[in-house]
């Protein structure tokens, strides 16, 4: 029974990682690609780690898998946020159908370096 549960979890997790890769290939924007990769990839890794935790023999191995999982859950949003901010400041263009809320036009991304207006 444990074997069936672990098999299902690992299969589901690798399906989610495959969906993340498809999102990276098919999406049209850095921001959309990051959205697909980060969330779906983290979910896939979480499911795979859960399956491995079900099949682990010792509590040491379970602890290590939990450590991997916690570390990925903490660092994946931070990394995605850093890359997203860097891409936005570097002026990586949006896709064509991106709409900007009225009144926020000055925050639009393509701001090829315009002097010393950095705020960080």
């Amino acid at each position: 029974m444990t074997e069936w549960i672990a098999a299902g979890l690992i299969l589901l997790g690798s399906t989610f990682t495959l969906i993340a890769a498809l999102g990276i290939v098919r999406m049209q924007d850095v921001y959309l690609r990051m959205h697909a990769a980060t969330k779906t990839g983290t979910l896939g890794l979480g499911l795979i780690c859960s399956g491995a935790m079900v099949m682990a023999e010792s509590w040491t191995a379970r602890g290590e898998i939990a450590l991997i999982l916690v570390f990925m859950l903490v660092t994946a949003p931070i990394g995605a946020h850093l890359i997203g901010r860097a891409a936005f400041r570097a002026g990586v263009p949006f896709m064509d159908r991106t709409e900007i809320e009225p009144g926020c036009e000055q925050f639009r991304a393509p701001r090829q370096h315009s002097g010393n207006d950095e705020d960080a």
Partner: protein, 103 residues
């Protein structure tokens, strides 16, 4: 049957075989994006996801081979991948906001 040098059988064996196939296909797709990304940020996103895929592959492989040492490798790989992502993000920001006094 023998896959990856391991004798796999039962439902878990089938699941591991299919999962390794799917993770490999995902890695190939991400490598394509890594090679052909229009901007540097695309490549960094692809690299980040590739390291996540490698971590999940190591976890699957440790289940398949019953060797716990691969989990240590996965922990170290996730640490190094996060440091690499932060470094690349800093690099992208620094190449854009180039002030004369900011070296």
């Amino acid at each position: 049957m023998i896959v990856l040098g391991l004798a796999l059988s039962g439902p878990l064996g089938w699941a591991i075989m299919i999962s390794v196939g799917m993770v490999s296909v995902a890695g190939a797709l991400i490598v394509w994006r890594l090679l052909s990304g229009p901007s540097v940020s695309d490549r960094v996103v692809a690299l980040d996801t590739l390291s996540l895929l490698l971590v999940s592959f190591l976890v699957i492989f440790s289940v398949a081979s019953d060797v716990d040492a691969y989990l240590d490798a996965a922990i170290v790989l996730s640490l190094v991948a996060f440091l690499g992502t932060v470094a690349f993000a800093r690099f992208i920001e620094r190449t854009v906001t180039e002030d004369p006094e900011d070296d």
